[in-house]
Each structure stands twice: as C-alpha cells, then as structure tokens.
C-alpha cells in the first residue's frame, strides 16, 4: 500500500517534472512575414531583438522570416500562412488582412506610432558610376536615350510607389490630364523589362547590365551601392518623391492562437526603440526618432516628400483611382 502510494507520487513527480521544463525550454517562436528586399534588414534586427529580449525577460526566442512580394505574402496569410507579425512595404497589403480575412482589427494602424510605420523610405534612383546619362530628376527618365528599370507595378509594391511618385511629379507640373498621362506612358515605354519583384529588378540592372537607371527604395539603392561598389553605381535622389510607409502589425488571430501576442508586440515595439531605430537608419531607412534621425542626417539628402494621404487622398482613393483593375495604372500600363 505504502509502496504503491510512493510509486504514484514518483510517477506524478515525473509527469509534472517532465511537463514543467518542457514549457520553459520550449522557446517561443515568432513568424515574421515580410516584403521582398527586407531579408538582410530583418536578419540584423532579429539578432539584436533576441539579445535584448533575453536580457530583459530571460527568455529565449526564435524568429523565423519569410520574404516575398508583399501582396503575395498577404495572400498567403489570407490563404492560411499563420504569421504572428507582418512587416510590409505598403499599407493596402496590411489593410487587406482586415478587409478580406478579419485577421486584424479595423484600427490596426493606430496601435503603434506613425500609422504603425516604424520607418519610411522613398523611390530613388541608382545610376551607373559617373552618371553618364546625367539623370537628375523624373524628367530625365522619359528621354528617348534613357532605359529605366523598375519591377512590374502590378506585382510589386515597390514599383507602385515609383508609379505614384512619377505621377505626383507630373501632376505638380501639368495637373491631371493628357500631359501627365503621356508622361507616365513614356516612362513605361522606356522600361525594357518588368520583373515581378524588387530583387529581380536589381539583378537585371546590376548583373545583366540592362538599363541606365534603377528605381527602387532609397534604402535599397544605398545597400546596392555598398554591395557592388562606388566605382559601379551611384545613388541619385530626385527633387520630389513619395513617402513610402512600411507598416507593421501583429496578426491578432494567429498570435492569440499561438499565444505569442506579448512577444509579437514586444518585437514590433522594439523597432521603435533607439536601438531598433539605429539599426534601421544604418540600413538607410529614414526614421522618425528625432535623436537618431539627427545622428544619421548626412546619409539622407533633403527631398520633398509627398504623402499618399495629402496628394492622393488616402489609400482607398489611390486604389480606386489608380491601382484597381482597369483604373489609371492599368490604362496607362496595359494600353501601350
């Protein structure tokens, strides 16, 4: 009898003992689903975050990354990819997670500062070293002797900003109408190849030596310059461009299912800390933290930035007027 009780006690101890450490040891895992050209950035951020989180809470975490065109990523999530957080390069791709999947609340953008956008960038130019074609601003891109490279605006968020920036530039000059439309058509005419994503366009420009100018986010133009060398390419920031937000969000439905909400929130909040903002700014992303922005101000030339809200009346209107099927972009892009 006594023996049996002891046996049960030992067995119980084993069960409890086996169960408790598993939970403590089982490291929390986070899946960050992100846009195409952010691989290197988030490798760095993840390493720093894991260290800082360990120091603060003593907990080990693993962060998995997934990168692809951000619209395709949004679609994957709607079709069942259980992302804990998303870090995208355009607002509509996050918004669609609410509109079509009800995975996040309607007011997701208000949950973190600056419309949930911890950093921003703008479409800028990368030209061959010495700028042989003298490309300074959007005007130069429609010259007959200039070949322009940017990805397909129908499949790449990156190129949607390029289209919007070019449109905003032309609109400021000629107002809306035939002249602005012709400008955009001419710009599209100068593009020999539309890759499906930002990285593929970079390869076309750098490896295939195709085109005189690559248009992509300022952060990417600088990163490419650092990678391939100042003797090959140089960065040109146009006089005016469009402010590209990089919205982030915790995916409530999946974070709650995985029990990772606190961790996911801490991860995104880390992007706003001085440490996080420093990493972001070092990777040539413009940040809102004044102290860090001042520290890195030499890296970022002054440029007039137009906002989607002010110039185009917000994303809903941009979609309706420009990006939706058969709207302006399709008319100018498809009808050439």
């Amino acid at each position: 009898m006594n023996n049996r009780i002891r046996l049960i006690a030992i067995a119980a101890a084993f069960v409890v003992g086996a169960a408790t450490p598993t939970q403590a040891q089982n490291p929390a895992t986070l899946l960050n689903v992100s846009y195409d050209i952010a691989r290197e950035l988030y490798v760095e951020i993840n390493a720093a975050f894991i260290k800082s989180y360990k120091a603060k809470t003593g907990q080990d975490v693993t962060i998995n990354q997934s990168h692809n065109g951000s619209t395709r990523q949004a679609r994957s999530i709607l079709e069942g990819l259980e992302a804990d957080v998303v870090t995208f390069n355009q607002v509509p791709d996050v918004q669609v997670l609410h509109d079509r999947g009800k995975l996040i609340p309607k007011d997701w953008a208000k949950r973190l500062p600056n419309n949930s956008s911890p950093y921003y960038s703008l479409p800028a130019f990368l030209v061959r070293a010495g700028n042989p074609k003298k490309i300074k601003d959007w005007d130069d891109l429609v010259r007959a002797d200039v070949k322009v490279i940017f990805p397909n605006p129908k499949t790449s968020g990156n190129a949607k900003y390029t289209y919007l920036a070019a449109y905003a530039y032309a609109k400021a000059k000629w107002g809306e109408g035939a002249k602005t439309d012709d400008f955009i058509k001419q710009l599209f005419n100068n593009v020999p190849v539309f890759d499906t994503g930002g990285r593929a366009a970079t390869t076309t420009f750098v490896e295939r030596q195709t085109g005189d100018v690559l248009i992509t986010f300022e952060a990417e133009t600088n990163a490419i310059r650092d990678l391939v060398g100042k003797d090959k390419v140089e960065v040109v920031v146009p006089s005016v461009s469009v402010l590209a937000e990089f919205p982030v969000a915790v995916i409530d439905k999946f974070a709650d299912k995985h029990g990772t909400r606190a961790l996911a929130t801490a991860y995104l909040e880390y992007l706003y800390t001085e440490e996080g903002q420093t990493i972001l700014a070092k990777a040539y992303n413009r940040v809102n933290n004044e102290k860090i922005a001042a520290q890195f101000k030499d890296k970022f030339p002054v440029v007039k930035l137009v906002k989607i809200e002010e110039e185009f009346g917000g994303w809903d209107k941009v979609n309706k007027d420009h990006l939706n099927p058969d709207a302006k972009l399709d008319q100018l892009f498809g009808a050439r």
Binding site: K154, V193, F194, T196, R208, Q209, N324
Partner: protein, 275 residues
C-alpha cells in the same frame, strides 16, 4: 477467363486510380471552372476579349508553336542519334537530355537570361548583329524550347529503338530508296509517338511560367505571357479573372490533347488499313 494480374484486384486498382485522379486532378480543375463561372458570361467575355488578354494569348501560343516546331526537328534528330548510333559520351548525352526535367524552371530561366542578356556569352554577339534575345518574344521561345525538348526525345527514342535496323534492311532488299524507307517505313512507325511528344511539349510550353518570366520582358502587349497575366490578376485579389484566364489555358491544352488523340487514332486506322 480473366488473366491473373500482378497487382491484386482489378476493382481495387481501378478504384485507387480513379480516386487519385478525381481528388488530385479533377477536383482542383472543377474548382477552377466553378471559380471562373462565378463572374458570369458577360464579364468573362470582357476579360477574354480585352486587347491585353488577346495579345498575351497571341504571344504565348505563337512562341509555344515556334518552340514546338524547333523541338520537333531538333528533338527528333536527337532521339535518332541517341537510338541509332554508338559513340563515346552517349550515356552522358542521354542523361543530359533529362536535365530540363530535373532543373527547377526558375533556375533554367535565370541561367538562360544570364547567357542571352546583352552582356552574356550568347547575348553579346547576337546583340552585336542586331538580334536581341533577352526581354523579347524570341527569349520566350528559347526558354520554352529549353524546358520542353525532353518530351519529344523521350517519347520518340524508345520507338526508334524498338523499330530495329532489320526493318530498314528488309525495305532496302525490297528495292526501296533511302527517302522511301524514311517516308513509307520509319516515319509512319514513329509518327504517333512523335505527335504525342510534340503535343506534350506544346502543352508544357503553354503553361511554362518560371523559366519564361525571367527572360521575357513582361511588357503588357509585347512580352507578357498568359500565365503572368493570371498571376497579376491574383495579385489584385481578382480570383475570378485569374480563374477565367486559367480556364482558357486549360481549354487550349485540352483541345490540343484531344486533337492529337484523334489524329493518332485516325493514323492507326489508316496504317491498319494499309496492312
């Protein structure tokens, strides 16, 4: 009397086959057609008759035809060489034919683009004489030809091997000329396999995506293929339009396979009557 088969049970074997085909092939296809039928006939017509869709279909079918004609000639030659001659390195050549099957198509596309770009090994001299390949329809045809050539070789080769040189010798002893042997003896024998190989290659060309998008310029109306257009519609969350475009591709491939089958059965009857 029923013959005993190695695999147990006709019923079981057939059931498994039908279940598999139903669940893996037919069900998704039905879902596709259903999705496309969601949008209604009028809108379907608008999508399919749009200039951009038409030009995508034109480019895709045109280049697929060009690639198939090239493969018909070159694949037949390759199959003949592999089946009829013995030479050093034959095994290696034989294995190389399957590389396009094994290679991820995106890798093939990247490799071809690197070769045929303006600064590539083939692209530079070709560009110098005024034939740009990368980012033109020609590039699309090359990518399609690359990924589909094994279909022709691998369907024709065993038939040529089976034919045996004795048939040729017999024809010759009966007084046939070389051309007559080729036209009246060899070609009728390999024709069904040749046709099957070509139609498979063509079907593959129509659906090729990974290899083509890297080398095609993807310019709407010029070098945009049907598969990319379907992909673009998906990116817009426009599932109905994407499905509609996919159904067109499906219909094209299906029609072609049926036509091929008809030609084959006609040919078999024709050959049978000649006996």
């Amino acid at each position: 009397m029923r013959q005993r088969s190695v695999i147990p049970g006709f019923g079981l074997a057939l059931g498994t086959t039908v279940l598999y085909l139903g669940a893996i092939v037919l069900l998704p296809l039905c879902a596709l057609v259903l999705k496309a039928s969601d949008i209604g006939a009028a809108q379907l017509w608008t999508i399919l008759s749009a200039p951009r869709t038409l030009s995508a279909i034109r480019v895709t079918v045109g280049m697929a035809l060009a690639a198939t004609v090239f493969n018909a000639v070159y694949g037949l030659l390759l199959a003949w060489v592999l089946a009829r001659y013995r030479f050093p390195g034959k095994r290696l050549l034989d294995a190389l034919v399957d590389v396009p099957f094994a290679l991820p198509t995106a890798v093939a596309g990247l490799a071809l683009t690197a070769l045929f770009a303006k600064n590539g090994w083939f692209g530079a001299p070709l560009d110098a004489i005024g034939i740009p390949v990368s980012y033109t329809p020609l590039g699309i045809a090359i990518a399609m030809a690359f990924t589909s050539v094994p279909f022709v070789v691998r369907t024709v080769q065993p038939v040529i091997e089976d034919l045996g040189a004795d048939v040729e010798e017999a024809s010759r002893s009966l007084g046939a000329s070389d051309f007559q042997i080729l036209r009246r003896v060899i070609f009728p024998a390999i024709f069904p396999a040749f046709l099957a190989g070509c139609s498979l290659a063509f079907a593959r060309c129509l659906g090729e995506f990974g290899a083509v998008i890297f080398i095609a310029g993807n310019q709407p109306g010029k070098t945009e293929i049907v598969a990319l257009l379907a992909f673009i519609r998906l990116e817009e969350y426009n599932y109905g339009a994407a499905a509609a475009i996919a159904v067109v591709m499906l219909a094209m491939a299906f029609t072609m396979l049926i036509v091929t089958n008809l030609i084959q059965s006609w040919h078999l009857r024709y050959v049978g009557r000649g006996d």
